[in-house]
């Protein structure tokens, strides 16, 4: 009896199913199908698209030999919303709230990434204070994203209460964003040419309190996990990849740095004021799941260091947005009390900034998951002619296809957790 063909095949999107099964069979042409298999240890396993451990709608097809994965295929696209197409039909500022929905675990980084790209192509220089606010919030977003990764990854390895503890800390960051931006989750706080509003004294106090208290929490987690037999055994040598393979597979972010390559855009090509801040880029050489854990944990404490320094260097007074009605929104005071302000507000919403025709620019930031870049081509109107999003989860998921080959099926869940993909970011 033929094990695959005799089973009832799914009836939706038949050609898609045929193609993906065929590619699974084609991947390693040298693997021979074992005909003398009385116990039928060879099977094709469909994991997802809605498996709780796939962190979104990711479907993994694995061909198994007993418990080992001989080859695997990732099927993405279940969350594809055509964000790039939408960008072509919106003004730059209108598109910014959409970026919140891409990597929805660290919306602030996405906002800033888009704004920086638009500022580069339209030759806008945002004021110093706005840049420091962006940096502080970016690092908070990094901690928030890493906290979710930590909670879910440890939960995938079997510890549930840990998830609650990381979420308690995340909740504090949500409260900070609520105070800073007026939203807890999809903040949309960055504007082209600056930020929407200044940090309130309450927000500053909340961030400072968080920065004071969080390192202790982190220390406690290190104490719990670093020498924890179950956690270490579950993660050491699991999902290992060497630095050459990692470069070839195009990994980015902590997943790449865990293989020993210190590629961090904050150092590689500094943006905002990262060149004036003293911080380190944590790397490991093992390239396995435990190395990724250490990298991200150390990154969180580096983020705390960065926020502390930002507060020291941030000017106490100064504009938080460019004071040029052709480049940025006027403040709400102007809009409510002057006719010009109202007109400018309307013009910004209706047309927005118009970069020179034929210009093309790329700007990337170090988002929590890796390089997040926006490539913009302009035709001189307020809409981008083409806006390409280079998202970290997409690159990392491609590497996952390489990493999963040869691993055990029980480790899949931990490895996916360790790579920290977000499907909204990958599928775009």
């Amino acid at each position: 009896m033929d094990p695959i063909t005799s089973k009832k095949r799914p009836t939706f999107f038949p050609e898609h199913q045929e193609a993906i099964y065929k590619s699974l069979e084609d991947k390693h042409a040298t693997v021979e199908v074992d005909q003398s298999d009385p116990l039928s240890t060879r099977m094709t396993l469909n994991m997802g698209p809605q498996h709780p451990a796939t962190h979104g709608v990711l479907r993994v097809l694995m061909e198994l030999d007993g418990e080992a994965i001989t080859k695997c295929r990732l099927d993405t696209g279940y969350l594809h919303r055509g964000i790039e197409k939408m960008a072509e039909n919106k003004t730059y500022q209108e598109f910014m709230p959409y970026t919140d929905r891409m990597d929805y675990l660290s919306p602030y980084s996405n906002n800033v990434a888009l704004c920086l790209a638009v500022e580069r192509i339209a030759n806008i220089e945002s004021p110093e204070k706005a840049n420091y606010i962006r940096m502080i919030c970016n690092e908070l977003a990094r901690i928030s994203s890493h906290l979710l990764w930590l909670g879910t990854m440890v939960m995938d390895a079997g510890a549930v209460s840990f998830f609650i503890w990381t979420f308690r800390e995340r909740e504090k960051i949500y409260d900070i964003f609520d105070e800073v931006a007026g939203h807890r989750f999809t903040v949309s706080h960055s504007r082209i040419g600056g930020v929407n509003n200044d940090l309130t004294p309450v927000a500053v106090e909340k961030i400072k309190k968080f920065v004071r208290e969080f390192p202790d929490e982190l220390k406690g987690w290190h104490k719990l996990l670093d020498r924890n037999r179950i956690f270490v055994d579950r993660n050491a040598d699991v999902g290992a990849i060497g630095h050459e393979e990692a470069i070839a597979a195009g990994l980015t972010g902590p997943a790449l740095r865990a293989t020993g390559i210190a590629y961090d855009i904050r150092k590689f090509d500094p943006y905002l004021h990262y060149d004036q801040i003293d911080f380190e880029v944590p790397t490991r050489t093992e390239g396995d799941n435990l190395a990724r854990y250490y990298c991200r944990m150390e990154e969180m404490s580096e983020s705390i260091r960065i926020i502390e320094q930002c507060f020291k260097k941030m000017p106490t007074k100064g504009p938080i947005r460019v004071d040029d009605a052709k480049k940025s929104y006027p403040s709400k005071d102007e809009v409510y009390y002057s006719m010009e302000g109202l007109i400018h507000d309307f013009m910004m919403t209706d047309t927005g900034v118009c970069p020179p025709a034929g210009a093309e620019a790329y700007h990337a930031i170090e988002a929590p998951k890796g390089e997040l870049g926006f490539y913009i081509q302009s035709d001189g109107t307020g809409h981008p002619w083409r806006l390409k999003i280079n998202s970290p989860s997409f690159s990392n998921l491609q590497g996952l296809e390489t990493i999963l080959d040869g691993e055990m099926v029980a480790d899949t869940v931990v490895i996916i957790g360790g790579m920290d993909p977000v499907m909204g970011d990958s599928d775009k």
Binding site: K8, P10, T11, F12, F13, P14, E15, H16, E18, A19, I20, S23, D26, K27, T76, G77, H80, G82, E84, K85, M86, N89, R120, I121, I247, A248, A249, G250, T252, I261, Y263, F268, D269, A359, E360, A361, Y362, H363, E371, G373, Y375, Q377, W385, R386, K388, N390, F394, S395, L397, Q398, T402, D427, K428
Partner: protein
């Protein structure tokens, strides 16, 4: 990004390519070179093996929406040793949009080329597994082409039945 290193690399590229290099555009931080389609694979190999661009970050396309050379495909290369980003681009004709694959040089081109194929219909010669990546195989259109309507083609694909395994 060191400007002298960038200039040195650019000079090597100019020497190597000569008339096959059409445009050098470096107004916004990173150089963007347009090259002849015929020398694409050789140039990529040159960049990887002699200029140390071992990291291919991205491959993507744009629709220029002109009658000839309608599409362009852009390769985003990074040299970790020299700390440089370079963009290479080629024009592709609408009639027969085929390019040689670079997956033999950088594995990471695999999914990116599939994405370009999925969104623009540009095929890559020699790609090991050129399938659609986001959309189902049954979908007949290429949504990031400019003529594709924002709201989609009505009735272009049937929705999956709510009980997929039921006959």
């Amino acid at each position: 990004m060191d400007a002298t290193i960038k200039e040195a690399i650019l000079q090597k590229v100019r020497d190597r390519l000569g008339n096959d290099l059409h445009l050098v555009y470096e107004e916004y931080a990173y150089p963007l070179l347009r090259i002849n389609q015929e020398v694409l694979h050789d140039t990529c190999r040159f960049f990887k093996e002699e200029l140390h661009f071992s990291y291919l970050n991205d491959v993507f396309a744009t629709d220029r929406f002109t009658s000839e050379d309608r599409f362009e495909v852009i390769y985003h290369l990074i040299s970790l040793r020299e700390q440089q980003r370079f963009f290479l681009k080629v024009y592709v004709d609408e009639e027969n949009p085929v390019l040689p694959t670079v997956t033999d040089l950088w594995n990471s081109a695999n999914w990116n080329e599939r994405e370009v194929y999925d969104m623009f219909g540009i095929r890559f010669d020699g790609h090991p597994d050129l399938r659609r990546i986001f959309l189902p195989e049954d979908f007949k259109y290429f949504p990031l082409r400019k003529e594709f309507p924002l709201l989609g083609v009505p009735g272009s694909i049937e929705l999956p039945s709510s009980t997929p395994d039921h006959d």
